[in-house]
Symmetry: C2
Subunit: 166 residues, 2 copies
């Protein structure tokens, strides 16, 4: 694929991903306000944006086999832990932006765990096996990720009822 077409599709993937995300967030908000049909409309269209994003990523030949996809995931998480969030945190510290600092810290703590879990999964898949992992718990407040359900979230202090099980 030629470079400018590739650039277009990469930008379109970024745009579709952000539209998808906004609509999921707006759906939660609509449901809170009692607009159930609007919430469902946001969720349906979020799924359409998923289809668009997937088609763009496939056209870019960036969906590989699971072994490769896990390496892509590890690379992304590692970049966030080693460079991206520490850099953004330095800016938020300098500018004394408390809410941004918290949002950045919450993410950084979880990304470390994500990198480790994906590494474990990659090892299994390279041996031709599925990864051995039980229930996975995600804190709905900060995104903390754990293989067991804590009494309180060690990152944000949320109680155990705030965890979603996968």
């Amino acid at each position: 694929m030629r470079e400018m077409t590739k650039k277009s599709l990469s930008e379109a993937f970024a745009g579709e991903s952000q539209a998808h995300m906004r609509y999921l967030i707006f759906a939660q908000k609509a449901r809170e306000e009692g607009f159930e049909n609007v919430a469902r409309l946001f969720e349906a269209i979020a799924f359409a944006e998923f289809v668009h994003a997937r088609n763009h990523l496939e056209a870019l030949e960036l969906v590989g086999e699971t072994k490769e996809n896990l390496q892509t995931a590890i690379n992304g998480e590692t970049f966030e832990v080693d460079e991206m969030y520490p850099a953004y945190n330095a800016i938020a510290e300098l500018q004394n932006e408390g809410r941004a600092k918290r949002s950045i810290r919450y993410a950084l703590e979880a990304e470390k765990i994500h990198a480790a879990l994906y590494s474990k999964a990659k090892q299994a898949v390279e041996e031709g096996k599925d990864v051995e992992v039980g229930d996975i718990y995600i804190c709905e407040v900060c995104g903390y990720t754990s293989e067991s359900l804590p009494d309180r979230c060690p990152i944000c202090g949320a109680t155990k009822d705030k965890f979603k099980k996968f």
Copy 2:
């Protein structure tokens, strides 16, 4: 919020949204390959990235009331229909990139419908009512969005079993 912190959080929102999207796509691929636990791990971590993206967007004060969120959605869809996809399509035409052209056309056709559905929803919410909308059907191949289930997708030709109902 100061400008450079805002820029950081905006970039972090873009990064989290794309990580979330990649993991959903990689989960489908892992399930196809028989790695059910890896698929579940991708889905769990995709949810953690949703939490991070939502926290960043809230810190940026870009989550409003539903009325405002619908206007944000309309603006995004209208930009995609009027400018973004036509521009990307012109590049793909020029460079004769067939797969990109298809992926772009699929998206463009759906975005027109999204803009109309969100406009209808906004009108209702401005009158203090939920929008009147029945089941919504999304084509899993191209993202075509419809209030009724067609025999075949008018955009990509997929059969009706390829539609997901919301």
